[in-house]
Symmetry: C2
Subunit: 361 residues, 2 copies
């Protein structure tokens, strides 16, 4: 039988001691971690980047199919992704949790083991947080802090109207992983003997449950001497992020349907579910790939960066934002990415039953 | 009739635009605020201090008697208090909210007006955040960032066994304010015409609903040339904080009952409620006063700092932590401060009905 220690037996400080035991600071910018009123950091020669995400059970994750360790890993990684999206490196996180009564010390240890694994892999220090109770469900709030030299920070607003639009990895696979998990959840409802059928679909599941932030791309760009003119990570979906960059940079854009990178498994799954593949890739969300622009003269250099594809180019703002389809037509790009406050997910009941436990931010 | 705009009509980005409209950055360390993947800050000559707090409806606050504007103000101020407690100055905050369906745009504007008022008064920039939905209730997660010159940062672990123990302001009044609010809530249940009786008790109510962080004390200490050897803010109660400092500094302590600063209204209220006054002052929590230690030779200097009282002294660790009562006896100090994960508040139902919506961290 699994051990189940009630959190109340440890209390807040006892739980924090247990969860943060053995943490060692590895970054020179981390002077003081857990255990005082504040963490103390030192960033003398670089800019400081700060990003925060709030994840709510029943809205951003569904614990019927998300293991707590994976959830911890993902919660940390999505914050690292925001730091990389500024061309920075994550250095520290602070983690706040609100926990309802059904969670045990062992549950929290599983969650923290995922957070700590992500920190180990990405070289980040866990330097503080807050732990409290909730009336219902689990809430995870993580703030990530990172750095970048001043001249290397990449904003959303620097794209010029002749720049090339690039994206890393592939799109739509995390969304297809979510569809697969939701389908198996419905099929397994009430059946203890149920074995989910993920054979050959492991990539989709992994993209949904254990995404990675594209540190490798940031490092490759650095090696190639390329500083993007604008950049974001793809969390809400390519359409939504493209519009953000175009709005901030005062440009239009053209992306080409046949250039959108899509994995073979994503395509198979879309066919099986009778879903529009391009819609899934453009609007699926949670890819945590990097969307960025580079000057036209960097074309040869960017082609040599592994894992990056040029999908289109910026235009004058008067041309608007459009996708050029395979048959040469232009379709206006609209933000159909996941909107956590839109009316279809705003309903407590819908969010509560997990049907809309879809993409995070 | 009050205007009630459903949040879904704006969506996440529309709501964020509305709430952050007109925000101007005032600190030189704030390079880029709301509107990108990260906030961008610059701290070349100082240490960076980071603190975070998570506040959950029904656990940390009860909206039946806490106005949203006050809640916003307090949520920000308690984070500033953590920065001051390191002898720093708060410079930026990021604010994450999870909102359930019963909240309107106007509700969120009220909450934000309190946050922004606190930022105005304390000179802090709101530089980012995350806004999402929740299944039930309101969750507020704030991370504050501040700075202090390296040689001025004050930790918990620097107290020596001959240092004087000092505290600002008075203790127990916020707790008595909470008792008063809870009593009036019970009395008013179901009665629309009910007029709460707060006459002459405004100070207690204000200490609970609209606490201030002790920036003034930090400035006075600076003017007097005093750098405390250790410091914390009193959020969980004096007993709990004293034990934290003694544990971190490897000391014992003696504090004197007749030196504990208590306001006249606090004393009256304790008598009326038949509560032990010293227990309330030692364990009430949410005072957001500063508890700190100074070297013995600073005695004359500290006596001249307005609003600060010497309440005892550190000792060798073997002597333990005790309060010396008026009759000269010694009572061991135990942490009876509010513990958000202790069994008595861990119960969802108890926390849910507001009975234990007591002190925050």
């Amino acid at each position: 039988m699994e051990k189940a220690t009630e959190i109340s037996t440890l209390g807040e400080f006892g739980l924090i001691d247990r969860l943060t035991e053995g943490i060692e600071l590895r970054n020179t910018s981390s002077l003081k971690g857990v255990g005082d009123d504040c963490a103390v950091l030192e960033y003398k020669d670089t800019e400081v980047l700060v990003s925060t995400d709030l994840l709510v059970e029943g809205v951003h994750f569904d614990l019927t199919y998300v293991p707590l360790k994976h959830l911890g890993y993902k919660s940390a990684v999505v914050n690292f992704s925001d730091i990389y999206a500024m061309n920075g490196r994550p250095r520290q996180i602070v983690v706040s949790l609100a926990i309802s009564r059904r969670f045990t010390v062992e549950h929290m240890e599983a969650l923290y083991s995922g957070i700590r694994l992500a920190c180990d892999i990405y070289g980040v220090d866990l330097v503080g947080g807050d732990t409290t109770t909730s009336r219902s469900g689990l809430v995870i709030s993580i703030t990530a802090i990172g750095d970048a030299p001043k001249e290397k920070v990449v904003y959303r607003d620097g794209a010029k109207d002749t720049d090339l639009i690039c994206v890393s990895g592939d799109l739509g696979s995390a969304y297809m992983g979510l569809q697969l998990l939701e389908r198996e959840k419905v099929a397994s409802a009430g059946r203890a003997d149920f074995q989910p059928e993920f054979g050959g679909r492991e990539y989709l599941i992994e993209r949904q449950l254990k995404p990675e932030a594209r540190r490798d791309i940031i490092e490759e760009l650095d090696k190639a001497g390329i500083v993007p003119t604008s950049m974001m990570d793809v969390s809400d979906g390519l359409s939504s992020e493209l519009l953000h960059i175009c709005k901030a940079s005062h440009t239009g854009c053209r992306v080409y349907e046949d250039r959108i990178p899509i994995d073979y498994q994503t395509a198979l799954m879309a066919e099986e579910l009778n879903m529009n593949l391009v819609t899934a890739a453009m609007n699926g969300g949670e890819d945590y790939e990097l969307l960025f622009t580079v000057p036209l003269h960097a074309h040869e250099a960017i082609k040599k960066v592994p894992g990056v594809r040029v999908i289109g180019h910026m235009t004058k703002p008067s041309l608007g934002c459009a996708m050029v389809t395979r048959d040469g037509n232009e379709m206006e790009i609209r933000a159909q990415g996941w909107n956590p406050l839109a009316s279809d997910v705003q309903s407590d009941s819908v969010a509560g039953n997990g049907d809309s436990a879809s993409a995070g931010k």
